[in-house]
Symmetry: C2
Subunit: 231 residues, 2 copies
DNA sequence: CGCGGCGTTGATCTCTGTCAATACTTGTGG
DNA sequence: CCACAAGTATTGACAGAGATCAACGCCGCG
């Protein structure tokens, strides 16, 4: 595990609220794994023995439709966790997961994790707090999304991935634009159009990544056209 | 506490995934309280010693803006919990809460609650599972919302509040339409128009409540106009 | 009686989803 | 190596939903 991975864990939505020692504590029953693009991680209906933290790359969650197609349910990336709800609940995975890009995952044994909580209730409390905050964060984030139009939503999304750097930046993305569009809650056509509007702002794109010429410029763009409520 | 209150707790988003005994276990350090419309429940910045389960009525969460106005952040009702994230985290409340209608709350002592988890880690695990499920539920629900248009969103919302009864039903609402609109993620004007469209379906409204003439009819309405995905 | 909030209704505009046509990419087979 | 086919991305035209702006009615209050 790379040093920067601790950084990822520390800022992951699920663990953000945890003190650093507690995050280190996760190390007990984990194992890192690498997956090539297209690899199945788990399948709908399987017993949820593990959950995963994405250290790097993109994962897509999907359900197989009766007709044999696949309906993408969610698209996740670095720092996010998948399968933890099923693991905690003891339910089978309700969806299937597959690597949308080459990726690196932290695989966490659910049973060990539970044991850890039972033996060390303080740890459980910390996790609970963290999940609670994650929930709050999610709700806020989702409400926010409704306020921003498509290009700003993309810009905001890219900025979140770029951290808070100042200059130029390169953001890795899944190859299929369809997946990014899905993640951002819009149709691929809208995504395409919105990207076109961002091009004059120094945002360019090819297969697997987007490059932002000037992060600050984009930030200013996202902030414009806010309505000043209150008075 | 009324018998039906146990029912409320049992079906509350936060506790839905808990076995009945565990829910009963909550009773230890709770106290019921009544609040008149307009009463402040807690204020932004206060130490979060308690969190609350709404047994009946409506609560609005808001932030005071620099200019002195109030920005409504959320609107919650029966079965929902407020303040639990702050309580678990040991942070101060990030928003203020006020009764939007007369209401009845279950006030839960955060410190006791934590102690309970520390003494009985299984309980903690159950709560954790429950929160996780709530989170998953939220995400699904939110995605669903995007699919429904305004009148159907309202209808769906009313139906959820009415339980699964069959005949006519009366749903209590906050007086200010603004708050309901906010809860449903639309502008008051849109809410008004959408309600107009529901009137022919037997939905009428005056100050504090909506009455549904025929629940089943409304259900059918919500289900119409779904696109058949997959193929 | 007149003022101010709030809710409704109407007109218009913007955004995004949908449908359709066109380009691009990738992989296959000649 | 090229031609062609299939899947994917882009671009255009159009329509529908909801936001916004504005006007009006309703009601309570000074």
């Amino acid at each position: 595990m790379k040093a920067s991975d601790w950084q990822v864990l520390q800022t992951a939505p699920l663990f953000r609220a945890m003190p650093a020692e507690a995050v280190r504590g996760l190390a007990g029953n984990k194992s890192e794994c690498f997956m090539k693009r297209g690899t199945a991680i788990f399948q709908q209906g399987m017993r949820a023995d593990y959950f995963y933290v994405i250290l790097e790359g993109w994962i897509k969650l999907f359900r197989l439709t009766p007709a044999g197609g696949e309906a993408v349910v969610g698209v996740f990336h670095t720092g996010e966790t998948i399968g933890e709800a099923a693991t905690f609940l003891g339910d089978p995975y309700p969806v299937s997961a597959e690597a949308a890009t080459d990726c690196r995952l932290l695989m966490i044994d659910g049973e060990n994790f539970k044991q850890r909580i039972l033996k060390d209730p303080d740890f459980g409390l910390v996790i609970l707090a963290s999940v609670s905050r994650h929930l709050k964060y999610l709700v806020e984030h989702i409400e926010q999304m409704k306020v921003l139009d498509a290009p700003r939503r993309i810009a905001d999304f890219l900025l979140r991935m770029s951290g808070t750097a100042g200059g130029p930046y390169v953001v890795p993305l899944p190859y299929e634009k369809f997946l990014i569009a899905r993640r951002l809650g819009m149709m691929p056509e809208s995504f395409s159009r919105a990207m076109a509007k961002l091009r004059p702002l120094g945002v360019t794109m090819d297969r697997g990544h987007v490059t932002i010429a000037d992060v600050k410029l984009l930030q200013r763009y996202v902030e414009t056209q806010q309505d000043e409520a209150e008075l």
